[in-house]
Amino acid sequence: MRSAHPLLWPLLVVALAAVGVLAIALGAVPLSPGAVIDALAGRGDANTVAIVRGLRLPRVVLAALVGAALGMSGGALQGTLRNALAEPYLLGVSGGAAVGAVLAVSFGASSAGLVPLAAFAGAGGAVMLVLLVARAVGGRADPRLLLMAGVVVGAFANAAIMVALAGAPPNTVRGALWWMMGSVSGADWGTVRWLALYVAIGGGLLLAWARDIDVLALGEDPAAGLGVDVDRAGRRVYLASALLAAATVAAAGLVGFVGLVVPHIVRGAGLRRHRAVLAGGALAGAALVVAADVVARVARPPAELPLGAVTALVGVPFFLAQLRRAAA
C-alpha cells in the first residue's frame, strides 16, 4: 500500500509558512513587501505598523489555530466514530454555539466579550446534551447514536435560532448572521492566547490518545478485544474533539467543512496512523484556513467575505470527488 511521501511533512510545513507569509503581505490595503517588512519590525508609518502587527498578524495566527484545531478534531472524530463523513459540527457544536451567540447578541452583547463566552457555553451544553440523549436512548454512547443525537440536537438548535431571529430587530439579525458565517477579523492577541492554550491542551490530549483511536477505528468489539475500554475511550475522544471545536467556534464563529475535509486530504496523502493523521491534519488545517482568510480579505475589497463562506466553497469540489468515488 502506498506510503506517505517522505517529503510530505516538510511540504506541509512549507505550505503553512508560505500562506502565512502571503496572509501578512496581502490585505484590503495594498502594501509593498518593503513596507510589510518594515512594519513587522516596528518601523515606518504608525498606521501601517498597526495594520500589519495589530491586525494581520494576530488574525493569521488565529486562523492557523482554528484550522489546526478543526483538522485534528475532525480526524479524531472520523476515526472514533468510524465514519468518513463525521465532522465536529455534526455533534451539536455548531447548533449549540449559534444558539448561545444569537441569545447573547439579542441581549445586546458586543462581539468582543460576551458572545464568544455564550457561544462556548452553548456548544458545551449541546455536546453534553448529545451525549445524554445517546445514552438515554441506547444505554451507551454508540457512534451511530451519537451522530443521530447530534442531528436531532442540531435540528432543534436551528429551530430555536430561527424563532429567535424571526421577531428580532434588524441589527440583531445582522449581527447574528455575521457571526454565524465565521470570521477572524476581530482577532486580537488575547483571543489568540486562550485559543492557543485550548489547542495545545486539546490537541495534546488527542495526540496522546491517537493509538486508542487507531484501535477504535477497527470497531468496538475488536477494540475491546485489544484492551481498549471502548466506552471510556470513545467518550473522552468525543468530548475532547467537541470541546476543541467549540473553542474555535467561540473564537471565530462557524468555519465549516474544515473538520470534514482536512482528514480526507491527509489520508489521501498516505497518512494512516492517527498520530500522523492528527499532526498532519493540524498543519494542513492551519494552512487551509489561513489561505481561506486571504481569499476572504482580497476577493472584494474593502469589504470582506465571511470566512465560513470561503471554506464552504471548498466543500463543493470535495463532495463532488466523494460522489465520483462512490459511483465508481
Binding site: 490585505g27 484590503a28 498606521n47 462581539s111 441589527n171 474593502p302 463543493v316 465520483r324
Partner: protein
C-alpha cells in the same frame, strides 16, 4: 462521458457561486428618478411616477381619506405637511413626531404584513421602494389600493418625496414651504462652514460586520454640508461594508457614531488602533435626529456642524 458531465457540473457550480458572490451586497440600484428632474423644479410635466414606476395622482386629497405610511421619513413628512390626521397606519419604527405614536402600529415597513394594512381599509399606502416590497405592492394593487413607493437615500430624494407626497395629498403648497425651509437651513450651515478646514470623518454604523456610510447616502451629504469630508465618499453604496485594515489606512480625524456605536467603540480594544479614537475624537450624534432624511435635515446638519466645528454658530 463521465468526465464531461463532471466538468459541466463543476462549471455550473462555479458560475452560480460567482453570480451569487457578485450579486450579494450589490445594494439597490437607483430607480427611475431621472425622469422627474423636471418635477424637482416644481412644474408638473409628464405624469409623475414613483420609484416603482407607478403614476402618482392626487388620491388622498380629502381630509377623510385614509393613508398608511410604512416608512419613518414619509410618516414625518405627512405630519409636517398637515396630512397627519389622515394616517391610519405606520410602522413600529415611526416615532416622529410624537403624535405619530398615536397612529396604529402595523409592524414592519420592509415586507409589511399586507393583511394588517388592508384591514385598515386604506386609500393610499406609502412604501419604501426596495425590491423586498414589490410583492406587497402587487398584493395591494390586486386589492384595489393605490401605492406610492419612494426610495429616499439622498437629500434630493427627500425633496422629491416631499413634492410627490404633496401632490398625492393635495398639500403642495405646504410641502413646498417645508422644502424651502429645509433648503434654507442647509444653505446657511453650508455657508457658515465654507471656509473652515475640513476634518476627515468616519461614520460608524455597525461593528460586526463593519458598516459605514458611503456616497449613496444623505448622511455623506450632511457631513459635507457641515464642513467635513467622509473618508468613504468614494464608495457609491449608501451603507457599504468595509475592513478595519482599510479604515486604518484612511486614517480619519473624527469618528461620528450613535450612542450604541460609541459604547461599542469604547468597549472594543480593537478600536484604539484608530488615531481618532486614541485622541478622543469620537463624537456622539443623536440618531433620532440624523437617522432619517426628513423634515429635520436642517437641524441635523446644524448638529453635525456643531460637533465638527465647535464654536461656530451656523
Amino acid at each position: 462521458m463521465r468526465a464531461r458531465s463532471a466538468a459541466a457540473a463543476a462549471a455550473v457550480i462555479a458560475l452560480v457561486s460567482l453570480v451569487a458572490s457578485l450579486a450579494a451586497c450589490r445594494g439597490e440600484g437607483p430607480a427611475s428618478r431621472t425622469a422627474d428632474a423636471a418635477a424637482e423644479v416644481g412644474t408638473v410635466a409628464a405624469p409623475l411616477r414613483d420609484d416603482f414606476g407607478d403614476s402618482v395622482q392626487p388620491s388622498g386629497v380629502s381630509p377623510r381619506t385614509r393613508i398608511v405610511s410604512l416608512n419613518p421619513t414619509t410618516t414625518e413628512v405627512l405630519f409636517a405637511i398637515g396630512a397627519g390626521g389622515r394616517l391610519v397606519g405606520r410602522t413600529r419604527w415611526d416615532a416622529w413626531p410624537d403624535s405619530a405614536r398615536l397612529v396604529p402600529d402595523l409592524g414592519d415597513g420592509l415586507r409589511p404584513n399586507v393583511e394588517a394594512v388592508l384591514a385598515t381599509r386604506p386609500d393610499l399606502v406609502v412604501l419604501y421602494a426596495s425590491a423586498d416590497n414589490r410583492a406587497a405592492a402587487e398584493r395591494l394593487h390586486a386589492a384595489g389600493v393605490r401605492t406610492l413607493a419612494l426610495k429616499i437615500d439622498r437629500i434630493a430624494d427627500f425633496r422629491r418625496a416631499l413634492l410627490l407626497l404633496g401632490v398625492a395629498t393635495g398639500e403642495r403648497s405646504r410641502a413646498a414651504a417645508v422644502g424651502d425651509s429645509v433648503a434654507a437651513t442647509l444653505g446657511r450651515v453650508r455657508r457658515s462652514t465654507a471656509g473652515l478646514p475640513r476634518p476627515k470623518v468616519f461614520w460608524h454604523v455597525w461593528d460586526s460586520p463593519l458598516i459605514t456610510i458611503g456616497a449613496g447616502s444623505y448622511m455623506t451629504e450632511l457631513v459635507e454640508i457641515a464642513g467635513g469630508h467622509n473618508v468613504y465618499a468614494d464608495l457609491p453604496d449608501p451603507s457599504p461594508t468595509i475592513a478595519m485594515e482599510d479604515l486604518l489606512h484612511r486614517d480619519p480625524d473624527v469618528v461620528l457614531a450613535g450612542p450604541e456605536g460609541a459604547r461599542l467603540i469604547a468597549e472594543g480594544a480593537a478600536w484604539r488602533r484608530l488615531r481618532a479614537v486614541r485622541a478622543g475624537r469620537v463624537l456622539v450624534v443623536d440618531t433620532a435626529l440624523v437617522g432619517r432624511p426628513s423634515v429635520r435635515l436642517g437641524e441635523a446638519a446644524t448638529a453635525i456642524a456643531r460637533l465638527l466645528h465647535p464654536g461656530t454658530t451656523p
